[in-house]
């Protein structure tokens, strides 16, 4: 009898009757959520079709949902195993899904999604040197300018800034109309010809030129590869970063002419340090560093500059924008 019931559960009833019933095992709830992070506009897709049960077909299994993780089921049991919905409210949202089979056995799975927080730490600061007002935001422990610095005097793009105690910058397309974009500075001007990390450089008092590491730390909560930077960091984005693609100023070494590549497609910001794998060549062939954001297609990421062989570079970067950082206090 025991051999016959090798794979069956033996139930001994009170009357001494012995019977064998197929052992019923609870279904196994499985849940896949796409995506795992988003904002209030994101449509989250909940797929429970990989739920399994040894004794029942998937079609006969029913699921119910608790959309806010409060312990109360928000739906009745349904055979529909796919759901889509939006969420509101920043932070983590816990979701529970329970599956039941035809015998009433249940199992549950719990997962969560994360909604980007709309940055509530937005403010402004006044540069005491020239009384210009800049919007700022606190992101991941740093106060960061959300406008590009425009301190100093604008010079023609036919002139290279000099170490003359006067902060000089270029303007996009050499036009005064583009002053609102910020100044395009050479790295030497940004660092005040004093090359060290955490340098105040030409930033307002209390602020400094960020290192590449600080850039990475500041934006660690946001995608840095394969994402739409405008959506995550652009004007009106949850980050408050106010990323605008204003290009840069470069020189074509073959023609000798300056030009302004990348408008609406990319923007570059200087870093204070030449850290590992963040090298780039400036006008004077020195190794300096910058971070670069691209808006389009696959290259939508914070670029990590890598060492390049000078003979293969027909272009020299002249000027980038600058956003100053201040450590949160």
């Amino acid at each position: 009898m025991l051999d016959a019931c090798k794979y069956l559960r033996m139930i001994i009833l009170v009357g001494g009757v012995v019977s064998c019933k197929p052992e019923n095992i609870s279904p196994v709830a499985r849940l896949e959520i796409t995506p795992a992070i988003g904002d209030s506009l994101t449509v989250f897709y909940f797929d429970a079709r990989n739920t399994t049960d040894e004794n029942n077909y998937l079609l006969s299994l029913k699921v119910r949902w608790d959309w806010d993780g409060d312990g109360y089921w928000d739906t009745d049991f349904s055979a529909n195993k796919e759901e889509v919905r939006r969420f509101s409210g920043a932070g983590y949202h816990h979701v529970r899904m329970q599956v039941t089979d035809l015998d009433g056995l249940v199992s549950m799975v719990e997962d969560s999604i994360y909604l980007f927080e709309q940055n509530s730490y937005l403010d402004s600061m006044t540069d005491p040197r020239d009384q210009q007002v800049y919007r700022i935001a606190r992101i991941n422990g740093y106060w960061i300018m959300t406008e590009n610095l425009r301190y100093g005097i604008a010079i023609s793009d036919s002139v290279y800034p000099a170490d003359n105690q006067v902060t000089e910058f270029h303007l996009f397309n050499n036009s005064a109309e583009n002053l609102s974009y910020g100044g395009l500075y050479t790295w030497d001007e940004v660092m005040l010809y004093n090359y060290r990390v955490d340098n105040q450089g030409i930033c307002p008092p209390g602020w400094h030129v960020p290192s590449a590491r600080e850039w990475r730390n500041c934006l660690a909560a946001y995608p840095n590869h394969g994402a739409n930077m405008d959506y995550y960091l652009g004007p009106g984005s949850p980050s408050g970063f106010n990323l605008e693609f204003y290009g840069s100023l470069s020189r074509n070494l073959q023609t000798g002419r300056v030009y302004y590549p990348g408008f609406t497609q990319s923007v570059d910001f200087w870093c204070s340090d030449p850290p590992e794998n963040h090298w780039y060549l400036d006008e004077r062939y020195e190794f300096v560093s910058a971070v670069s954001f691209w808006s389009l297609g696959r290259n939508t990421h914070l670029v990590e500059y890598r060492p390049v062989d000078p003979p293969f570079i027909p272009v020299r970067i002249i000027s980038h924008y600058l956003r100053c950082f201040k450590n949160d206090e």
Binding site: P35, A36, E83, V84, P223, G226, N228, Y231
Partner: protein, 325 residues
């Protein structure tokens, strides 16, 4: 007893099997990778009390008003692009309700939408349809990329089908779920008073899904005897033809994702009255959201193959001239 009577009398007999149920969004969209326009058709289910031919159908019963259709492209958990599709009314093909609305939504190629016309198979394309006060209609697919044809190596290559040492094969690289390869045999029928260009077409190969990740390269050998038999069986006899000339052979590859493959397989066995369970990958609706791609390359026959086409035992009766004159 009184209770039983009261219970029985409370039963309603209002059940109407033809009563209107909730309108279900019916969505069809196939993202064909090389196309420059993305289309989505969104109509609604409806129920008639009589014949579909005999009863007028208003536009309101065939389409949803005030809906928004969007495409999103994601890479992992990150959004790459989001774009709302524009409504466009297109003329219907003949058939049921030829005068009814034909609600399409389109997204055309531009610098602002190019993310939806590029990418790789790891990306996710999401279709989102919103109706005021109603659940979101949703589906998601991976794009199907263009296969890379490796043999013939270039357009117009001259190939020898009777090379016994190195048998000729057609080959391409792709890991898509289902693949079909057609051969088009282009030729001309010459009559006493005119010439007509014609195409003989047959399916030379189809894959058996799912693909083997260890074998992204597909090789289909095309030997001379097999090919000549195919030509003979796909060109009808015509005694009025004085002679025929060969022009070229076009290899056409068609690839689909699992959604379209499954949809086609299941619908092949559903009866015409639509009894039985259909297939859909539309959440909160029904229909199909799938992806396809295609590629093609043409080639011509080398000396021995041409000689066989003209004089060989399988095709001699078709009267092909040897050098296409």
């Amino acid at each position: 007893m009184l209770g039983l009577i009261a219970f029985a009398s409370s039963c309603s007999t209002d059940f109407d099997p033809l009563a209107s149920g909730p309108a279900v969004p019916v969505v069809y969209s196939v993202i064909n990778y090389p196309d420059t326009v993305r289309w989505v058709r969104v109509s609604r289910s409806f129920q008639l009390r009589g014949s579909a031919y005999g009863e007028p159908v208003s536009g309101d019963s065939l389409e949803f008003k005030d809906i928004r259709v969007s495409l999103e492209k994601w890479h992992g958990d990150y959004l790459i692009a989001r774009s709302e599709m524009l409504p466009e009314e297109r003329l219907r093909d003949s058939g049921y309700f030829p005068a009814g609305p034909n609600p399409f939504f389109q997204l055309r190629y531009s610098t602002k939408t190019l993310d939806f016309f590029s990418g790789n198979s790891e990306d996710l394309i999401k279709l989102i349809i919103e109706r005021p006060g109603q659940p979101i209609v949703y589906s998601q697919i991976h794009p199907v990329t263009i296969p890379e044809i490796s043999t013939p190596r270039h357009e117009g290559e001259k190939v020898e089908l009777f090379n016994l040492i190195e048998p000729f094969f057609l080959s391409w690289t792709s890991m898509e779920y289902y693949q079909e390869m057609y051969l088009e045999f282009h030729y001309a029928d010459h009559y006493a008073d005119r010439s007509i260009d014609r195409i003989a077409l047959w399916k030379e190969y189809h894959s058996i899904p799912p693909p083997d990740p260890e074998k992204p390269l597909t090789k289909v050998f095309l030997t001379g005897v097999h090919f000549m038999q195919r030509v003979a069986s796909n060109i009808r006899l015509d005694t009025a033809v004085t002679h025929r000339t060969f022009k070229k052979i076009v290899m056409r590859l068609y690839l689909t994702d699992e959604n379209i493959y499954t949809y086609n397989i299941i619908n092949q066995v559903i009866q015409e009255d639509q009894a039985g369970a259909g297939n859909t990958n539309i959440v909160n609706g029904c229909g199909l959201f799938g992806a396809t791609s295609r590629a093609e390359r043409w080639f011509i026959l080398a000396y021995r193959s041409m000689d066989s086409l003209a004089n060989g035992q399988y095709t001699k009766h078709l009267h092909f001239t040897n050098w296409g004159s």
